[in-house]
């Protein structure tokens, strides 16, 4: 009982600090959004990778960067309708 509670509290604390962490009830939508956002953040964070992609996509690096930041908003589309 107490352990479960502590685990729950720890998880909450973890989630507050790292948005990308999940739990047993994480939905596909949440998880895939996080994957997409983390991926964009990672591409932007590695300049060489960004350069490589920008050449491949034929776009200036800065533009691609801005695009990626924009794409972090609802990266996998709008959230699913809540169904009861």
């Amino acid at each position: 009982m107490a352990d479960k509670l502590r685990a729950q509290q720890q998880l909450e604390a973890l989630q507050a600090r790292y948005v990308g962490t999940g739990h047993a009830d994480t939905t596909k939508f949440e998880w895939t959004s996080n994957i997409a956002r983390d991926s964009y953040a990672s591409y932007i964070g590695h300049p060489a990778l960004l350069q490589y992609m920008s050449i491949g996509l034929g776009q200036p690096r800065e533009k691609l960067r801005a695009q990626m930041i924009d794409k972090m908003i609802q990266p996998v589309g709008p959230p699913p309708e809540p169904k009861d």
């Binding site: 739990h23 047993a24 895939t32």
Partner: protein, 1240 residues
């Protein structure tokens, strides 16, 4: 210093040792073998009385009985004193009365246990001021203006302000009465006279009071009067002390009755009702002479609340006397009145509407009903009374279970639980009340697990239970007089948790909560203060600023200083919780209140408390705060001026060293004010100045110091203690400031300072003493060592010991911080001479002198050489002293000055000291023995192992038995000394001796102090290095078989250390071989040792990975959980050691074995498993391990998903970036990561 001295002291001690060895039992140190008896068991054959049966004698039992027959105790039997049932010899003894003299009555001795119990109560250690919290009553529920139903229920702000107005009025009147009485006019006498013709002549106070209340139209006055009466009664002030005050309220009641003559008068006779003692006391007034309850018999808080009445619960309280004291204490009953008064011409008035009879003190309530109707003369006590008095407290409360304790006072609050009422016919509210009661009782008196679950239930159901019912029970408990720390802590914790859940629902109860929590803010206990702050800040977050202000506002100008003080502190907490900017407008308004100086005083006090609470966090709002209180420096009330100056000093202290510009406005009033003030307010102004000067830049600081120093110097002579402290503080602050020059201080300040403060009287008071020392040290930082030391060196030889100590402490601090380079030859001589005298003259061995001596000697360094012989002689003779503390101090001093002695090339002297100290190893006081060992250790350190006298081969065998000493100080010092020898010069002792030490060390592995365990472990390492790991390892491995866990763990650590110091390959084979022993403890021990070993050797582990993998394979598939757990921790340490060292194959292999353990549920096991998997992830790279994880993240079974997500989260936190390429490719077009498919 001759060798003869050394010889003499040594010989004396040797003689003592000899004498001891002969005198003591065979357990002691035996000089012939250099050993004490090792066995802890008593020998069956040896006699304990070695004095009698000396061990040297050949036939030691000759001529003595060696055993005593079981049944030949004839001599004892003969003493059977009765002969024919009668004594022949008279027996003289004290009378019963004499024997029991101290058992009862006035001379009764206090029950030790009882007083202990009382000591635990918070109230017993509170000051009178703090106890004033009991005078506060819990206020009625307040309305919540923000709630949906608005101010529907509870008192509104307006109501509260009105009632405060009335309270103030009451206080004013009381004060007038008190003044009158002080002047000698008996106030009650006036009223006595009124009794006779009260109807005709209006009472003296009435017209004046009338004028105040009659300002409105007639009707309004009546209403106000009624309200006043109601208020006065409702306030639950049953402890009205003086009859006079009651008289006044009654007067009001009378007035009211007079102004509403058309009220219907019921003439129902109430003479025949049952004995209700106080019901008719108000109107009739006949019982006034004796019937008033003795003040304060019932604690105020208990009354105004819905606590169960004591009578109903049956508090096991003694009923006083046989009822014969009826005339004095009980109120006149209706029958009595019937008999006393004529039946015609009088009318029994109905009490006015809203009048509530005062509750009767418990004692009276219990005593009165016990009287039979036809009372007259002697009466037997009712048997039920007896059972009542002796009624035991319940040990078990139905529905609660076994409690840790149950106090008599608890009955008052929790009595309902034992009344045995049927729960089936209770309303929901009653059931709820009982539920809360039960939970609170569990929290307060239960065992820890009970407390935990009850607290959880209270928190989780807080909203369902409701704020009202919860606080109505919780808060009175906190007002209980006999509350203890632990109970208070638990109850406060409940409030905290409940607050969190209730949120805005607490609003109506904010004031009540504050009434019980505010006293925590002035508790002596730091943690209580912190708890109080936390609650109030949570409360203000839950209730909101507006509500907090409207709740606390009426208390700001409360007539009681205690209330104002605690309110100010509470307000400061609110400010720190909700931010200063939000509070500033309000503070500004309060500090400028025109209506009452109390409000201004409290406002400034809030500003004073804020920096104390928040420290430098006030800096952004400093200007606002200073502006808010600036104008109060010139307030007409001296108290306000004083508190303003104190507030400014608190602000300046918190802002140090920034923010002088915020104080610009008030500098001028402050300095001019300082010139105008006298006495206490001058002290506060000076304090403010003292704190402001360090903030200024050099130029200004210099100027302002010059300005203020005049006054400060003048006040040097002030006899006032407070002023002395302030002046000293100002001087030390000025001295610390950049702009103040040494020249100025020398010229102006030093002379006066030493004249006024370096006097014997100052050393007597602890606080003065410390302040003077601190100030002198601060001055010395500016003016230099010589200037100060020169002035006080003579005091070292003063006749007052406290004064000498003060001088030594100052010199210690001054020389400690500035060194002794400035001190010339002459002063040096004086100094050493003085400090030696002070050291020798001390009557109580004080660490201050030891520190001072050590500091001086170390600071002088080689310049000490000429004095060393003298110092050593002193030490030597003090070592020979009979008093243990003197010997201890001497040994401690040796430890401090060895470094300097070796610098002075006095190694010969050191060695002689060593030889003498060696003799003292038989010392019986462990504290002293510890110090002697410490001294020996420091001698070994500076002299070196090889030059040491006595030689190590003699010294070490003496240490072996001492290792068994259980005293921590002894253990620590011996193990340190032994470890040092093992490290530096192991060859001086033969391996057998080292092995013996190893065995002794095993015991130290379970010492309580971590430092000792660590030192013991390290020593194992040194010894293993010295004599090779085989023997040590054998000892340690066999120690793995012992039962004690702590010992096994430490053995495992020691094996790890041995493996580290002697290279793992020397240890690993034997260790792995030991794993084959089919015994769980041993196998676990081996695994643990492996775990420590791999932790210590780190990267070196890569050579051994493949060697231990088969063993780990076996361990990881063992049936025993703990086994797998320990194996997992081995895997963890191996994996972390081999990161990037090409052992991926082995790691993956281990990972495959680890993985199925993922579903373990025991917290320790699963934690170790997860750690191991994490470590392997680090060793083999995140993507590889992620392949294992994807499989279970969205498994249909939650039990599977949970651990997988835990692993995912661990991986995500540690290496989110490394996971990016490893995410699975998702089919949905929306989810694909096209960017990764770019290929150039």
């Amino acid at each position: 210093m001759s060798d003869a001295d050394f010889e003499k002291i040594r010989r004396l001690q040797q003689e003592r040792n000899q004498a001891n060895a002969g005198k003591k039992s065979s357990k002691t140190f035996d000089p012939s073998t250099q050993r004490t008896d090792n066995s802890t068991k008593a020998s069956l054959t040896e006699a304990f009385d070695t004095n009698l049966y000396d061990r040297d004698g050949t036939n030691r039992f000759a001529g003595y009985n060696t055993s005593i027959a079981v049944n030949d105790d004839d001599a004892m039997d003969e003493g059977d004193d009765a002969l024919n049932g009668r004594r022949l010899v008279g027996q003289y003894t004290a009378t019963k009365a004499q024997l029991n003299e101290f058992a009862h009555g006035d001379t009764e001795e206090a029950d030790i246990l009882l007083s202990r119990e009382e000591k635990a109560q918070i109230a017993s250690r509170e000051t009178d001021y703090q106890k004033r919290r009991f005078e506060r009553a819990l206020s009625p529920t307040r309305a919540d203006p923000f709630a949906q139903d608005g101010a529907a229920n509870g008192a509104t702000y307006q109501d509260v302000m009105k009632s405060r107005e009335i309270e103030r009025e009451e206080a004013r009147v009381r004060k007038i009465i008190a003044d009158k009485e002080a002047k000698g006019e008996s106030a009650s006498g006036d009223h006595q006279a009124m009794l006779k013709d009260g109807a005709k002549t209006p009472p003296l106070a009435a017209p004046r009071r009338k004028r105040r209340w009659d300002t409105g139209p007639e009707e309004k006055a009546a209403a106000a009067a009624a309200a006043a009466a109601q208020e006065a009664e409702k306030k639950a002030k049953i402890d009205v002390q003086e009859p006079v005050a009651r008289e006044i309220t009654k007067e009001v009641v009378k007035e009211k009755a007079a102004t509403t003559p058309e009220a219907p008068k019921k003439s129902r006779s109430r003479w025949d009702t049952a004995v209700v003692p106080r019901e008719d006391a108000g109107p009739s007034r006949w019982d006034k002479a004796g019937a008033l309850p003795d003040g304060g018999a019932t604690p105020a808080p208990a009354a105004g609340l819905q606590t169960p009445a004591p009578l109903a619960v049956g508090v096991p309280m003694m009923i006083g006397g046989f009822g014969t004291d009826i005339g004095r204490n009980a109120p006149l009953s209706d029958e009595d009145l019937n008999r006393l008064l004529p039946s015609e011409g009088y009318k029994i008035l109905d009490p006015p509407p809203g009048y509530e009879p005062t509750r009767v003190a418990t004692r009276n309530a219990l005593a009165t009903p016990a009287l039979p109707a036809g009372y007259g003369g002697f009466m037997m006590q009712e048997p039920e009374n007896n059972s009542w008095a002796g009624k035991q407290l319940p040990t078990e409360i139905p529905g609660v279970g076994d409690l840790q304790f149950f106090k008599a006072e608890d009955m008052k609050y929790f009595g309902k639980l034992v009344d045995g009422a049927d729960e089936n016919d209770m309303t929901l509210d009653e059931l709820k009340e009982r539920k809360i009661m039960r939970l609170l009782l569990k929290v307060k008196n239960g065992t820890p697990p009970m407390r935990k679950t009850a607290l959880r239930q209270l928190t989780d159901n807080a909203r369902q239970l409701g704020a009202g019912p919860l606080f109505n029970q919780l808060l009175p408990l906190l007002m209980e007089r006999t509350l203890e720390d632990q109970e208070r802590h638990l109850l406060v914790k409940v409030i905290d948790r409940v607050l969190y859940k209730l949120d805005e629902l607490v609003r109506p109860y904010v004031h009540r909560i504050l009434v019980v929590i505010e006293p925590l803010l002035i508790d002596q206990d730091y943690y209580a203060r912190v708890e109080g702050k936390e609650i109030i800040s949570n409360l203000s977050k839950a209730a909101g600023l507006a509500h907090m202000i409207s709740t606390l506002r009426p208390d700001l100008d409360h007539p009681d200083e205690y209330v104002r003080n605690t309110t100010a502190r509470a307000f400061a907490v609110v400010a720190s919780a909700l931010g200063i900017p939000a509070m500033l407008p309000f503070l500004r308004a309060v500090c400028r209140s025109k209506k009452s100086w109390q409000a201004r005083h409290t406002g400034v006090k809030i500003v004073q408390q804020i920096p104390i609470l928040m420290g430098c966090a006030i800096l952004p709002h400093l200007k606002g705060l200073v502006e808010a209180i600036g104008s109060n420096l010139n307030d007409e009330q001296p108290k306000v001026r004083m508190v303003t100056a104190l507030a400014i000093s608190a602000l300046a202290e918190a802002a140090n060293p920034y923010g002088i510009e915020s104080f610009d406005e008030i500098l001028n009033p402050l300095w001019t004010g300082a010139r105008k003030q006298r006495g206490k307010s001058l002290a506060s102004f000076l304090k403010a100045v003292g704190f402001l000067i360090p903030l200024m830049d050099e130029e200004y600081a210099n100027y302002y110091t010059g300005q203020i120093m005049e006054i400060v110097l003048r006040e040097f002579q002030s006899p006032d203690e407070e002023m002395k402290k302030v002046v000293l503080k100002v001087v030390s602050q000025c001295a610390k400031t950049e702009g103040v020059t040494a020249g100025y201080l020398k010229e102006k300040v030093l002379g006066e300072f030493f004249k006024n403060f370096w006097v014997r009287r100052m050393a007597l008071d602890k606080r003065n003493y410390q302040q003077v020392v601190a100030t002198t040290v601060d001055l010395s930082q500016k003016v230099g060592v010589t200037e100060i030391v020169q002035r006080i060196v003579a005091n070292l030889k003063d006749e007052s010991e406290a004064y000498r100590k003060m001088a030594v402490e100052t010199i210690d601090k001054v020389i400690g911080s500035l060194g002794a380079a400035d001190i010339d030859q002459r002063l040096e001589e004086q100094l050493v001479d003085g400090i030696l005298t002070a050291f020798q003259e001390q009557t109580v061995e004080d660490p201050i002198l030891l520190d001072g001596f050590g500091t001086v000697v170390n600071a002088l360094g080689v310049r000490c050489k000429p004095f060393l012989p003298q110092i050593v002689t002193t030490i030597l003779w003090r070592l020979n002293n009979k008093s243990a503390t003197v010997r201890q101090q001497a040994a401690d001093l040796v430890a401090r000055i060895t470094m300097v002695m070796s610098q002075c090339e006095e190694d010969a002297l050191l060695n002689k000291l060593g030889v003498v100290l060696y003799e003292y190893l038989g010392e019986e006081y462990p504290e002293v023995l510890g110090s002697i060992l410490g001294a020996l250790r420091s001698i070994v350190t500076v002299v070196g192992i090889h030059q040491m006298q006595p030689p190590i081969r003699d010294l070490l065998p003496r240490l072996t038995p001492i290792l068994r000493n259980r005293h921590e100080k002894v253990q620590e010092n011996t193990i340190d000394l032994v470890g040092r020898i093992a490290d530096r010069g192991p060859e001086s002792v033969n391996p057998r001796e080292w092995m013996r030490i190893c065995f002794e060390l095993l015991d130290m592995l379970k010492a309580h102090k971590k430092g000792i365990r660590r030192a013991a472990n390290n020593t194992f390492g040194y010894i293993a290095k010295a004599i090779g790991p085989q023997d040590v390892l054998a000892t340690l491995l066999s120690n793995l078989r012992v039962q004690e866990r702590q010992s096994r763990v430490c053995t495992a650590v020691a094996i790890g250390i041995v493996a580290e110091t002697c290279a793992p390959f020397t240890v690993l084979p034997a260790l792995m071989n030991e794993y084959r022993v089919p015994e769980l403890n041993v196998q676990n021990g081996v695994l643990k040792a492996l775990s420590f070993m791999f932790e210590y050797i780190g990267e070196m582990g890569k050579d051994y990975v493949y060697a231990v993998t088969p063993l780990l394979e076996d361990a990881l598939i063992d049936r025993d959980q703990v086994h797998r757990q320990t194996a997992a921790s081995v895997v963890k340490h191996i994996a972390l050691g081999v990161v990037g060292l090409d052992c991926e194959d082995a790691m993956i292999h281990l990972l495959n074995l680890l993985w199925p353990n993922l579903f373990e549920t025991s917290p320790h096991v699963i934690d170790r498993i997860i750690e191991a998997i994490d470590a392997i992830r680090n060793a083999v790279g995140t993507p590889l391990v992620m392949n294992y994880i994807w499989a279970g993240l969205f498994h249909p079974a939650r039990k599977v998903r949970q651990p997988y997500w835990r692993l995912y989260n661990e991986a995500y936190v540690q290496s989110a970036d490394a996971m990016i390429p490893a995410y699975p490719i998702l089919d949905d077009d929306n989810l694909r990561r096209h960017e990764l498919e770019v290929f150039l």
